[in-house]
Symmetry: C2
Subunit: 552 residues, 2 copies
Amino acid sequence: MKKTIDFQTDPSRYRHWRVEYDDAVANLYMDVDENAGLFDGYQLKLNSYDLGVDIELSDIVQRMRFEHPEVKVVVMRSGKDQVFCAGANIRMLGGAAHSHKVNFCKFTNETRNTYEAALKDSGQNYIAAIRGACAGGGYELALACNHIMLTDDSSSSVALPEVPLLAVLPGTGGLTRVTDKRKVRRDRADIFCSMEEGVKGKRAKEWGLVDEVIPNSEFNETVVERAKELAASSNKVAGQGIKLGPLDRQISDDGSISYSLIDIELDRKFRKATITIKGPENSPPDNSEALTKAGDQSYLLRLARELDDAILHLRLNEMELGLWVIRTQGNPELVLAHEAALLSIKDHWLANEILQLWKRVLKRLDVTSRSIIAIVEHGSCFAGTLAEILWAADRSYMMLDEFEGDERPIAKLKLSEANFGQYPMANDLTRIQTRFLGTPEHVDFLREQIGEDLEAEAADEHGLVTYIYDDIDWEDELRIFMEERASFSPDAMTAMEANLRFSGPETMETRIFGRLTAWQNWIFNRPNAVGGDGALKRYGTGIRADFDMERI
Amino acid sequence: MKKTIDFQTDPSRYRHWRVEYDDAVANLYMDVDENAGLFDGYQLKLNSYDLGVDIELSDIVQRMRFEHPEVKVVVMRSGKDQVFCAGANIRMLGGAAHSHKVNFCKFTNETRNTYEAALKDSGQNYIAAIRGACAGGGYELALACNHIMLTDDSSSSVALPEVPLLAVLPGTGGLTRVTDKRKVRRDRADIFCSMEEGVKGKRAKEWGLVDEVIPNSEFNETVVERAKELAASSNKVAGQGIKLGPLDRQISDDGSISYSLIDIELDRKFRKATITIKGPENSPPDNSEALTKAGDQSYLLRLARELDDAILHLRLNEMELGLWVIRTQGNPELVLAHEAALLSIKDHWLANEILQLWKRVLKRLDVTSRSIIAIVEHGSCFAGTLAEILWAADRSYMMLDEFEGDERPIAKLKLSEANFGQYPMANDLTRIQTRFLGTPEHVDFLREQIGEDLEAEAADEHGLVTYIYDDIDWEDELRIFMEERASFSPDAMTAMEANLRFSGPETMETRIFGRLTAWQNWIFNRPNAVGGDGALKRYGTGIRADFDMERI
């Protein structure tokens, strides 16, 4: 499975989904082209999906927010007659490398979280309208919707058959959403998750697996009615959408990448990607008309989209680059000016969408399984929104005092109001709150530093950076650290970072990325699932899997 | 590593620990006999530990509560000169089966949780007094103490070197307690957990890794002083302790076990253990004097100790028995009478200890990696404390109406006050609250049913059992279920149950058993750690581990 995976797409290229617009309601049809799998070796039968299908869905969810702000309800349906969705494609899973499986599931989780949160964040409510079999990842697709409607006929059911059928978990949020979102009684969850055939009709409603069960003859009209009702109850106000054009991106033969605002250099020897973010060059659009007119070209939107693409590209296509070094260069005052312009009109739909997108991109960084280091050099612009990267990173290094021959403005940080609530992590705390979990009073102190120029000594004293070094030590210290990091087991790093990054309270989101994902990763390593005689390999062969029966 | 592991021990048999009593202060010395490992093939050098060392510690912690209630402070020290504790023995870990490693770590976690909670539960405060190297599991031992004192000399440090040294995690609570209990800043935690040499002196205090750093020359006297201060500040009132005698237990050649109150039958073909609990035969000791006089023979204490031993025995020695069926037989009124007698004097130290022990035993059941089924037959006594087992189980089956030729009293459940707060799960909710997470008002309704005889239909209607079957269906339904369960992948069961059992809020305890443990189990399956060229296997050979550098 070695080919470059491109996360950029647009409606003209979709193979698996289509959208029909009906005023405030968007009808989203999953209609997977079984011959258009991302890789060779499997067919996407029965509306099963691979990463390619999910990349399209992610694109749709994103465009729905920016290009179709008039949409208040999205109805997710199947474009096939007999099946809603059979879940992740089993042959694809059986053949994929562990690293691909895990990163595929992570991206899938992020997309589910995005449309699940769309109601709260953007006033777009997702409904699942299920007719036909809805199994495994198919039901997980539905679980992330906020209202699940099931037709009452002999062939329509919801199911999580992973355990009995494949000896793996419903690991893309399934188990967690059943217990924590749908609050299904635990013994019923146990039954539901260990039956192949799933649950139909009234029982599905009684157990809380769906919200409505509707006679087949009334299904379509009830779905339309429900969508209109929900749309009518929304008080979302939005103008005309903007067009999300293709990103300005070049990938060189050696793998280095340049976007309009980001350059990425690769150091394969030290397994390192250096990501340099450029600050804005012009002043911001200063009202909502100007912002709308700037479309997809306003600085913070352009940067968020490029950074999102860069994260996904590096995650899936450059798996051996275990260390990401993030730098910025630019004018911190201009970064803050762009941010302030958005915050001053944050109730405007487009300003809100840009801020929400930043929230998601920063969260993507939080759950990225790479060691992330922020480097605060002279000439950098870690201010406000961009300063969040410092605390999404595992460590940060900052230049202290002047460096010989370096004419750039002295390194400084700037805090803004955006650092105190605009971008909550998955645990619902800000990155600063999470960082200072033991000393909440320090968060209040930091708030008083908004707008101050914080040079290295102040940044260090306030606990905002990990290390400050002067010209004499800088290069050696960074080199030693990077060499050391490159020598560690990438698995140990992944697991350590997954535990250290999310202290404090838990939410459904942290539980999905922490507990459920970790168990899923474990299962994806166990011979009972992925071994030659395991259930995932033997599925469809007619031969039963051969299990080592020891309980762990 | 196939030999029967016995969790029963007593001070006369200790090889690795000793305790000296000084009024309200107990001085606990870890002094591991390197030649007394539980298995062959390794030496327990540098106060490193294996399961045998931890079985003794667990016994000490338990006896401290029952035999030495006068103790208010326990000071954990090393009996060696140069080292506090080097953590879990690496050769033991390198050689052990995955199933043994995971179950060993779970038991270790339970022991850590027990003494960590001893202050709140029993007024016994654990202090770690560290002189010498305190690394890995050694520091995890200290982290579970509530006050950590470190001597300030050139060789004393705290460290979590698992990641750089062994490519595994500090997985016995280490990562979680660093971020969530000690609230160490995340970038400092990243540094700390990726350095082999650990942190000494002032920096350890500044980063929050220890509570006090004391000059070496004043260390001993300061520890004594601090212990006395903490003991003096306690208002615990306790009488004379009771003696915990050896359990009345017989293990037959075929593996079946009988205790005074529990019988365990094994069905190896269907990989099933049937655990039958007998109700009490006599009325309870009706005041604190009588309770003390009954010593370790009062019904609820005897049963808790036997059940605890049975759980541990089956977990570690019978790993292929993936299904536990729990039955009771006896008089439910007498169960409630024993419970009521304890609750009426719950402020008495011994009554409190018995109730706290039940809390721990039930929690042990919650995190046991087996499918647990409760069977409510005619003649059973699932009442109050024993009814908790129904909701610790994954499912329950209850007999409906009379069965031909069955003269036992008709099956019924009885709720008591104890079901509504006495035995919180790791998530700090009661089992009933967790079960009805989506309908808290139902918990209020159930509270009104305290004392009622709930026969099958009522129990089913109230959601207290999973299935009710009459004489016609009972045997077939149970057989079908058990055969099906026995055919599933034990790994899928383990992971599914770990996710379904703990809905609702998270605590440090659930995070340790959920998130951290799952990642640790994953690591313990990864070639980078446990493969032939992995770090755990190559440790001590002088050859560096050979890592697959792909990030997952």
